[in-house]
Amino acid sequence: MLRRCLHVLAICVFALTVLGASSDDTRVDKIGHKLVCQCGCGQILMECNHVGCPVSPVMIDELKAQVAAGLAETVVLKFFITKYGPISLAAPMRGGFDNVAWIVPFAVLLLATVGVAFLIRYWRKRHAGLPAPSSVGTAALPLPSVQDRIRRETDYDNWSEK
């Protein structure tokens, strides 16, 4: 048992070291997917497919230089924000008002869920205030002949096609 636990632990440690040691290339690729090419094509920087695009090679070179210098991702992104403006980020990530963009959809979903739950509760309460269905049934107790007819006409066993 102990051996097995150690085994799992060893695998975890190994996985973590492998994960941590991402090479420069993968970092460039990762950060480059958080940026937008500024030539006007509106594509993700690493996906810009215009040959002869005047902007994306420059941006990618800048990105590579920053990553090679060992700068942290936030620093690299900050560099692009200062140079090209916040529009160069593929999604708003500057904090402050940008957070609103992320919070509002989930807040609305949450509020709406709570709202629907309350609505259902309210409906059920109102429903409970009404006479129970069975007593409605007694109030308008169907004539046996009518009830027979209804039952006959809606019985699934009696369903047949012309």
């Binding site: 308008a140 169907p142 004539l143 209804i150 699934y156």
Partner: protein
């Protein structure tokens, strides 16, 4: 000549549309104001469909017995009110 050709199309279209819109109609499509009976018939169809659905879903194992019986009673009561009124109206 060219002007006449240019004018021909629009004039034809104008006359045709005007004639179509304002041509005296022999008989207007019969006014079918919805009667109470029509309304009841629609209601009956809906309740019947709900009942059939209920019966079907009960067989498919979606309702416990008492639930099913109670709902059938409610729906049948609804249906019988409608059916009785229809019979009273001569439907």
């Amino acid at each position: 000549m060219a002007a006449a050709q240019t004018l021909l199309g629009p004039v034809l279209l104008l006359v045709a549309c005007f004639a179509f819109v304002f041509w005296p109609q022999e008989k207007l499509s019969a006014e079918v104001e919805k009667t109470r009976l029509d309304y009841l018939r629609e209601r009956k169809d809906v309740i019947y469909e709900n009942l059939r659905d209920l019966n079907f879903e009960f067989r498919a194992g979606k309702y416990p017995e008492e639930d099913y019986l109670q709902q059938r009673t409610t729906l049948e009561a609804e249906a019988s009110t409608v059916v009785s009124e229809m019979e009273a109206l001569g439907g």
